[in-house]
């Protein structure tokens, strides 16, 4: 994978190096505030036309990562490079930079303003960010609606007049209005019905091929991830635990957590049920992290040395893994 990465450094549009985001949490009167390390040492790079999947359970820092990547927040420490420009920590990035990354949220019922027409929603980014004339904007909106599989006459309608799948098409259209280079997809299909899910996934694939978009695909649905991701980043408790290309990670997962996650996912084949790795308990509290490896209290393979130091991501097999046993 290392060679693979070196090859496409020219086209890298998004790069994170040891990205961190910490939040202070007030503990109460006269108590020093505690620190929640929501994101701890995430590194990856993503080229145009590629898809990176971020996988993990709730509370693992997936959404915090999305907030850093889309510049909604700036990271506490670490480097974030977007389209060749460095995002300065603790400083509000300029508009041109923010334009090149957009996000599509999970629930299209909540992410579209019910009081605005589709036209108004798609026009807003153009009004705020460009000096296009009225007829230019009109043309851009009609073209985008067609591109995402809606009809131009839909522009005058309100979100409630659309089905879930169509609303997600609108959310995708809105994200693409400013021609971003990177699109963060935060569980884009998990609120949709099975038969519509495939339609939206196909649309995303098609848009990526035509527009050369880089996707950060946040999901917990491993069958979808396997299908569309080039590389996979597995996170646990704010830390990356495994990072490898899709084929490698699904055929030969290295980290015990990745293995457990894969074995817990039900497969739609009768009699294919895999040997399940039983994970006891639930992820630890972020205010009270366990010593050493954060996965060690639930890990079936844990040894005493796992409790001594936090393992760093290091090369193992064809990928990278944060486990001292591998």
């Amino acid at each position: 994978m290392a060679e693979n990465m070196a090859e496409n450094t020219t086209a890298v549009v998004l790069k994170a190096v040891n990205l961190q985001r910490h939040y202070p949490v007030r503990q109460g009167f006269m108590q020093p505030p505690a620190t929640v390390r929501a994101l701890n040492g995430v590194s990856f790079s993503l080229a145009a036309g590629e898809t990176l999947a971020v996988v993990g359970e709730s509370g693992c820092g997936k959404s915090t990562l999305a907030r850093q990547l889309t510049l909604i927040e700036t990271p506490t420490a670490g480097e974030l490079w977007l389209d060749g420009h460095r995002v300065e920590p603790q400083r509000r990035p300029d508009a041109a930079l923010r334009r090149s990354v957009q996000i599509v949220f999970q629930n299209p019922y909540g992410s579209l303003n019910p009081r605005k027409t589709i036209h108004q929603m798609l026009e807003e980014p153009l009004l705020l960010n460009t000096r296009q004339r009225r007829d230019e904007r009109q043309r851009a909106i009609a073209a985008m609606l067609e591109r995402v599989g809606l009809r131009p006459e839909h522009a005058g309608r309100y979100p409630h007049m659309f089905s879930g799948g169509q609303r997600q098409r609108i959310a995708i259209a809105r994200a693409l209005m400013l021609r971003p280079k990177v699109v963060v997809l935060d569980e884009p299909v998990s609120a949709l019905d099975l038969s519509v899910r495939a339609q939206i996934l196909n649309l995303l694939t098609e848009l990526q091929q035509v527009l050369g978009l880089a996707y950060v695909f946040i999901s917990h649905d491993l069958s979808v991830v396997r299908r569309i991701a080039d590389r996979v980043l597995v996170m646990y408790f704010g830390r990356p635990v495994e990072y490898a290309d899709s084929e490698t990670i699904f055929t030969r997962p290295q980290h015990p957590y990745t293995e457990a996650l894969f074995s817990a996912t039900p497969v739609a084949e009768v009699g294919q049920r895999r040997e399940r790795i039983h994970l006891q308990g639930e992820p630890p509290s972020p205010l009270n992290p366990p010593p050493g490896c954060p996965f060690q209290p639930r890990c079936a393979l844990a040894e005493t040395r796992c409790g001594q130091a936090v393992p760093e991501l290091h090369p193992a097999g064809a990928g990278q893994v944060a486990c001292i046993l591998r």
Binding site: E57, S58, G149, F162, S163, G164, G165, Q166, R169, D193, L194, S195, V196, R197, A198, Q199, L201, N202, L203, T205, E206, Q209, H220, L222, S223, V224, R226, R227, A260, L261, A264, T265, P266, V267, A268, E269, V270, G271, Q272, R273, R276, H278, L279, E282
Partner: protein
């Protein structure tokens, strides 16, 4: 005698635009110790049918049913009070969102005790013992401490365990679980499903599992009922369903799953949308989206057919015993990967 027998259950809701038929002619039977999965997309009527069974629908619903037997007892002629005694007693239900199903103002011990008090009665001490036993049964660590915990102090998985404890309070014979793991993480989902199946086997309960996750169906159910737009379109044993689906809808649904789809950039899709209240087709409800539909499907509604041996279907082109789909010339077959979701 089967534990549950439902014949021609229909539910309609009064809306401003007239009656909306949410469930149409659902038949089902369930034995003790059997796990039946009901699969369908949103709006397929799977939850409404089960709520009708439990008598939990609002007064705006009109419920019609030819026969409704639970353990040989006719539920249709039952007085409301006697019917309520069955809920949580002989049959119990678990809902999708454990966090919002629990009352945030009371401890989980109190809430489980409420079910014990209503159905079993007994003294305070004996009831507390029972609740502690239930908490232990569903795998909640340190029951005496958790007894006094409020719902906000529990994680999603623990809340769902508390809901299961509540449902088991009076040793029900039929347990209905409505998307019990949809709101939970994958590793927690595996724990909860395993717990449900273990309890179901130990107690020889009938379990109806409502879900939209085909993976969950394949791993837990013995029989599967597929619903589409309020109608049941297929019933089969789980192996048959995944190996040879009878109804074109089931087939298309399975093909659209990323893990079963043929390799390539694009997934096969089902064009179009589930019909709503105002655009219900005259013939087969699936005909507008079906790759095999002919003139007959546009005009004539297929009837539900069921074999003595179990399999059932609602399609003009499924025949024989064992049944198999026999479609006319595949000239009109639609290609996979088709885009567009027209309204």
């Amino acid at each position: 005698m089967s534990l549950l027998e439902v014949r021609k259950l229909s539910v309609a809701f009064q809306t401003q635009g007239g009656w909306f038929r949410a469930v149409e002619g659902v038949n089902l039977s369930l034995d003790r110790g059997e796990v039946l999965a009901i699969v369908g997309e949103s709006g397929s009527g799977k939850s409404v049918a089960m709520l009708a069974l439990m008598g939990l629908l609002p007064a705006t619903a009109r419920i019609e049913c030819e026969r409704l037997l639970l353990d040989g007892q006719d539920l249709l002629g039952l007085a409301p009070k006697a019917r309520r005694r069955l809920n949580g007693g002989t049959m119990a239900m678990i809902f999708q969102e454990p966090m919002s199903s629990l009352n945030p103002c009371f401890t989980i011990g109190y809430q489980i005790d409420e079910a014990v008090r209503t159905h079993l009665g007994g003294g305070r001490k004996a009831r507390r013992e029972r609740v502690l036993h239930l908490l232990e049964l569903v795998g909640i660590p340190d029951p005496p401490r958790r007894f006094d915990a409020y719902p906000h102090q529990l994680s999603g998985g623990m809340s769902q365990r508390a809901m299961i404890a509540m449902a088991l309070a009076a040793d029900p014979e039929l347990l209905i679980a409505d998307e019990p793991t949809t709101a939970l993480d994958v590793t927690v989902q595996a724990q909860i499903l395993e717990l449900l199946l273990k309890l179901q086997q130990e107690r020889d309960m009938g379990l109806i599992l409502i879900t939209h996750d085909m993976g969950v169906v394949a791993e837990t159910a013995q029989h599967v009922l597929v619903q589409y737009a309020g109608q049941q379109v297929e019933r089969q044993a789980v192996r048959g369903l995944f190996e040879q689906p009878l109804h074109p809808y089931t087939r298309a649904l399975l093909d659209a799953l990323p893990e079963r789809a043929p390799p390539g950039d694009f997934l096969p899709t089902i064009p179009g949308l589930v019909p709503g209240q105002h655009d219900r087709p005259r013939g087969c409800l699936f005909a507008p989206r079906c790759g095999h539909a002919g003139a007959l499907c546009q005009t004539q509604e297929p009837v539900w057919q069921q074999l003595e041996s179990g399999p059932g279907w609602r399609c003009h082109f499924v025949q024989g015993d064992p049944p198999a789909p026999v479609f006319p010339a595949p000239a009109a077959l639609q290609q996979g990967g088709e885009q567009g979701e027209q309204d």
